[in-house]
Structure formats: C-alpha cells, structure tokens
C-alpha cells in the first residue's frame, strides 16, 4: 500500500499541472459539490444517503453528489485525485491521514471558516485531532471531527456472572490489576479470560498506553521529536505479555488475528472478554447466536482512563471551487441531530456534545451508555502529531511489537529497537 501511494504520488506530481481548469459557477447558478464518503456498513450508508437526499431537497442551488470511497484504498485514491487537481470537494477520512495532506497543501484550513455553532458543539480535544502544521511553519484546522472510537471490552455476560466478578461502570471502571485478576479467574478449561488480537498492534498499544501516561514520543524545545520507551510506555506492553505467558489468561492463538477475527471464538465461549473498539458492537449484534448475552465494559484504568483519540473527519479540498458551499453542507451534515444518525449507523461515538446527550446515545441497549461515556477518556493521541509516525509504525514498531507478543524478544530489546531504529527513521523527518 505504501509503495503504491509513493508511486502514485510521484507519477502524479509529474502529471500535475495538466489538470484542466473549469470556470467557477456564477453566484446564483446552481452548483454540484462532490462528497466522498467512506461509509461501508449498511446502516451507515443508508444514513449518509438519507442526509444527502435531505440536503439536496432543501438546497436546490447546492446539490451534493454522493460518492462512495473505501477505507481500504482511500489514501492512494486521494493522493492521485489531489495531484491530478480534481479531488472531491468534501472528503471523509480519519485524522491520522490529514497530517500529511495538510502538510502538502491539499486541504483547506477551515480554522476561521467553521460556523460558531458547530465549533462550540465539538469539544477542543476533538478539534486538536485535526489541527496540524501547514507545512509553512503555521498551524491550521484541516477537517471537522465527527466520529471517534474508544477501546472498551466486550464480555460474555454469563461467564462474568458465573465467575461472580464485579461488573465495572463508567464511574468505577476496572483497573488493569483488577482486569488481570478477573482474566485469571475467567480462565477455566477451554476458556481463556481474554483474547488480544494483535495483527496490527501499534495503534492499540499506543492508545492504551496513555492509561499509564505512556506517550512513546517526546519533542524537545527545538522541535525535534524522538522515541521514548520508559517505565510508562512499558506498562501496557508488559501487562499484555504477562497475560499471554505468565498468567496464561490470554489465548496466544488470537495474537495473529485482526480486530473482528476472534468473534466466532468469543461467541463459542473460547474467550470471555475481547478488548475492542466500540464499533465492534455492531458485529456482535449482527452475528451473535440467539441467546448469547454480552455486555460492554468501560475503558480500563491505569493512573487514568485516558486513551488516544482518532477521529473520522470531513475536510474540504484546497482545490475545491466551492469551499463555502462545501462548508455549509458539512455544517448541516454534522449538526447534533445528524451526528446521532451517523454515530448509530457506524456504532461509533459522536464528537458533538448535543449528539452525545441524545437519549439514543445513552440507552443501555447494546452498551450505548457505556460506549458514549467512554468518549470522556479520549485525548488527542500524541503520535498523531509526529511527522514520520507512519514509517516508524510500519517499519519499526509493528514488527517489533509482533516479535514481543510472540515472546521472541524481551521488553528491554523492544525498548532498544523502538528507540534506536525509530530515531533513525524520525531523524529524516526532523530535518
């Protein structure tokens, strides 16, 4: 994927400038803006299309054309569109992708263009996830954050009740120590207490490490960023490793799985608990066998329950001929009531304060109350701002963490690799 992106970018740099300019519409002339959505679940696509239809009906002079993209290749596709000079006007993506796009001048800085009502409805920590350098020494806001994901634990209710363990609440979550003890208690016969799917371990570990104030990166006064793996950063790593090899309360065979892969084993009672993003609840609702009882448990607590936040975003392309119209559409699309529909469709958390207070977001059914409350734990993920994080993640962190979780290297070796090899990578970006 990375090679594809690089090649696509390089080829299109060569071709840039060939893009033909079409004249902008006169002020009163109807315009059509292109909105590329990455909705992919049935309910989410329906919600997106419904809102677009609603907008089009009410705004005959600003028509929105719905285009469906795909998470699997969106950034390859966007790079080509940006370089060829014809990107969609309104772009759905996630906040980590925006940093590079902003740096290259592909996205419009919407800092002073967001309507006050929308701005105040979304808390500052969410805005922080879309605030990046503009590549010229300044800072800008390059999207409107609207859906966020937190890590919760999805658990087999009957197994928890049978083990007679305390059910945590958002106000009184489990600590990591409690979680470890309960995982051991739940490990019986063919059932493991927990499954840690670690096919892509980096974001999960980095986000959870904030529970112990582990940031993994530090930036000095001169703006130079280096990797840091101290006691705080080792906590979550060591605890997961202990569950796998010391307590033997986590199933090692789940390590190579992707996020949703352990679900069949979870339904079959092979694991009692599954740490997962809140969105995975949708899969459970859709797939769980009749009579299967499950519960959503709030984020774990270390020294705090803080987790790194990544937002889904709507941005406006810098090349858009209709930036004002695009922002008007975004303001409508992401108002409180509409964020409720979008969050329900994607089983994620709305950034809108109004949306989060909606009764639909706080019902007990399917763990919405716990999921919505978990948004309070979200803070901007430190790695989001690190130039070169993507390369560090793919070339250094992913293989190193996979080796560690496979018990092939020690935690000291992990720390050394992440720092030494990681700093070599970051050195290039610090110049």
């Amino acid at each position: 994927m990375r090679m594809r992106t690089a090649v696509a970018a390089s080829l299109l740099v060569l071709a840039a400038g060939c893009a033909s300019e079409s004249p902008a519409a006169a002020p009163d002339e109807p315009v059509t803006i292109k909105f590329q959505s990455l909705a992919w679940q049935k309910e989410s696509i329906a919600a997106n299309k419904e809102l677009v239809a609603e907008w089009n009906k009410a705004n005959p002079k600003i028509q929105v054309e719905y285009i469906q993209g795909s998470w699997d290749n969106v950034n390859d596709q966007l790079v080509t569109s940006f370089e060829a000079g014809d990107p969609p006007d309104v772009i759905h993506d996630d906040s980590p992708a925006l940093s590079g796009f902003a740096n290259r001048g592909y996205l419009l800085d919407v800092k002073d263009k967001i309507p006050a009502e929308l701005k105040s409805d979304i808390p500052q920590p969410a805005w922080d996830t879309v605030t990046f350098g503009d590549g010229k020494g300044g800072q800008g806001v390059y999207g409107v954050p609207f859906l966020q994901e937190s890590q919760v634990t999805i658990a087999n209710k009957k197994l928890l009740e049978a083990a007679d363990v305390r059910i945590p609440t958002p106000d009184s979550p489990w600590t990591w120590d409690e979680f470890a003890e309960i995982s051991k208690k739940l490990t019986k016969g063919d059932t493991y207490g927990v499954a840690w799917p670690m096919k892509s371990p980096v974001n999960k570990v980095l986000n959870l490490s904030l529970n112990f104030a582990g940031t993994f990166f530090q930036t000095d006064g001169a703006g130079k960023t280096t990797v840091k793996v101290g006691a705080e950063e080792r906590e979550v790593l060591q605890r997961i490793h202990d569950q796998l090899y010391k307590d033997k309360s986590a199933d090692p065979s789940a390590l190579g799985m992707g996020s949703a892969d352990p679900l069949p084993g979870f339904y079959a009672g092979k694991y009692a608990m599954l740490p997962a993003g809140v969105y995975l609840r949708q899969q459970v609702v859709e797939q769980a066998p009749d009579g299967f009882e499950w519960i959503t448990l709030p984020p774990l607590k270390g020294v705090s329950s803080e987790q790194g936040a990544v937002s889904q975003t709507l941005s406006v392309a810098a090349d858009s001929k209709y930036p004002e119209q695009s922002l008007k559409f975004i303001s409508f699309f992401l108002n409180g009531a509409n964020q409720v529909k979008l969050a329900k469709g994607d089983w994620l958390l709305p950034t809108s304060v109004k949306a989060a207070a909606d009764p639909a977001m706080t019902v007990e059914e399917n763990g919405w109350n716990v999921a919505t409350a978990s948004a309070k734990s979200l803070v901007v993920a430190p790695f989001l701002k690190v130039n070169g994080f993507d390369e560090w993640k793919s070339k250094v962190a992913t293989p190193t963490l996979q080796q560690y979780f496979a018990d092939k290297i020690t935690i000291d070796e992990v720390a050394k690799k992440l720092v030494d090899e990681g700093n070599q990578v970051l050195e290039r970006y610090n110049k």
């Binding site: 049935k42 696509i45 795909s70 998470w71 390859d76 080509t80 339904y267 769980a288 009749d290």
Partner: protein, 272 residues
Amino acid sequence: MGKALRYLALAGYIVFLAFPLVWLLSTALKLPQELASLHPTWIPRAPTLTNFTDAFGEQDLVGSGLRSLVVAVACAVLTVILALPAAYALARYRSLVNRIAIGWVLVSQVFPFILIIIPLFMVLRRLDLVNTLPGLTVVHVTFVLPFALWMLQGYVRAVPRELEEAAAVDGAGRIRSLVSVVAPLLAPGVVATLLFAFISSWNEFLFALIVLKDPDVATLPLTLVKFTGAEGVVRLGPLAAASLLATIPSLLFFAVIQRRLKSGLMAGAVKG
C-alpha cells in the same frame, strides 16, 4: 482398478478446483450468525438471498460489471491483435534484433508493473484518457502484452515450419499459408492468450484505482472493495455474493471459448 483410480483422482481434482466456488456460494447464502460460527457448514442452515439483495442494493454491481466486461474484452482482443504478428516475427525470423527483443520481453517481466504507470499516466493525461475506460484498456493492454507475446511466440514455434514449406510447394502464397495452415494450428494459443488477457484485465485493481477516479466509471474490483471497512473488517456475506456474481462472466467467457480451444487443436493439422 487402474481406471477406477484414474476416475477417483480426476474426481478429487475437480473437487479441489471447485472448492473455492462452492465455498463462495455457500458463504453468499448464509446469515451473519452462521458466518460467524466456529464450526463452518457446507450447506447453509437457513439459506438466504439477503446478501445478494444487500450487495445489489448498495453498489452498482451491474454497471461496474459491464464496464469491467467491456475493458476486459477490449484488452483481450487488442492484446492478441498486437501480439500475434510480433510473436510470429519473433518466432520465425532469427536475428540478433529478435533475440534482443525476446530477451527484453523477459527482462520486462522482472520489473514491477507499477513502474510503467508513470509514463503511461503522462501519456493518458495528454490524450485526455484519464478517468475513461479506453484509458484503462490501454493500461491493461500494456501490462498484459509482454507475457502474451511470450506465450504466443511459443505457440508459433510449436507449429512445424515444414507445414508452411509444404503449403508453399503446393502453390500457396505467404498469406494463404498463414491463413489456411498456420492460423488454425495457432487457434489454441490465441484462445489461451485471449483467456489470459481477459482474466488479467477482469481482476486488475491497482491501475483501475489510479486511472479511474469517477465512481461512474468504476470497474468491478473497485466496487467489490467497498464491502471492506477499516481495520480489515469485511462484510463477508455481501462480499461473497458480489464476488460470486463477479466470477460468472469469466466462467461464461471460458465456457464459450474453450470449445474453440478444443476444435483449434484438431483443425489444420492434417494435410489433405
């Protein structure tokens, strides 16, 4: 006993070949609960067409399938038209230039195909072919052509030169000899090359992703990928249903063309 074993081996081979298709069908007919079972079943417990209706309802499968079909057929035909004369020349006329050309065809296979997209894209931009099916066809022909050329020149070599000489002795001119003697013997090779080019183009994703940005011109692989979400989570049922439908044109194309493959093997081999 020997015959029975041969049939058994053949049956085993057919089962092996059919497995992915049967599994795809089985998956496409299952409800999400059954798909998420730890104990997969061959025959769906409660067969459903929901996955098909979802797949069709959410994505323009017919439109993108038709566009893929147009591109794949055009790619197959153009590839053969371009490769056939070149393959004949390479196989029949031995010279230093030909040897270098064959060597270059082989060497070109060593490079990642992605490298050719750079000059191709520049050409496509100048010709205003980006975001068009003809543009994608040009790209597909370009990446299929070297191997097709290599395949075809092998088939040409397999046609005995003596047959052409015998035709000449019988008074056939060069064109007549090519049309009446060589062409029927080359038919299996041409058919195999058509199939190779068709399937390569039908399944191609990366170049389509780069060349086609407008959803109104998306081909089938670009549409299928929309059933995958973030973090590799896949909507398996609709994806299986859509993928099953995506295999049908290839199967039909093969079913139609394989008769030619067999008849081509027989035709023209015996001088009457």
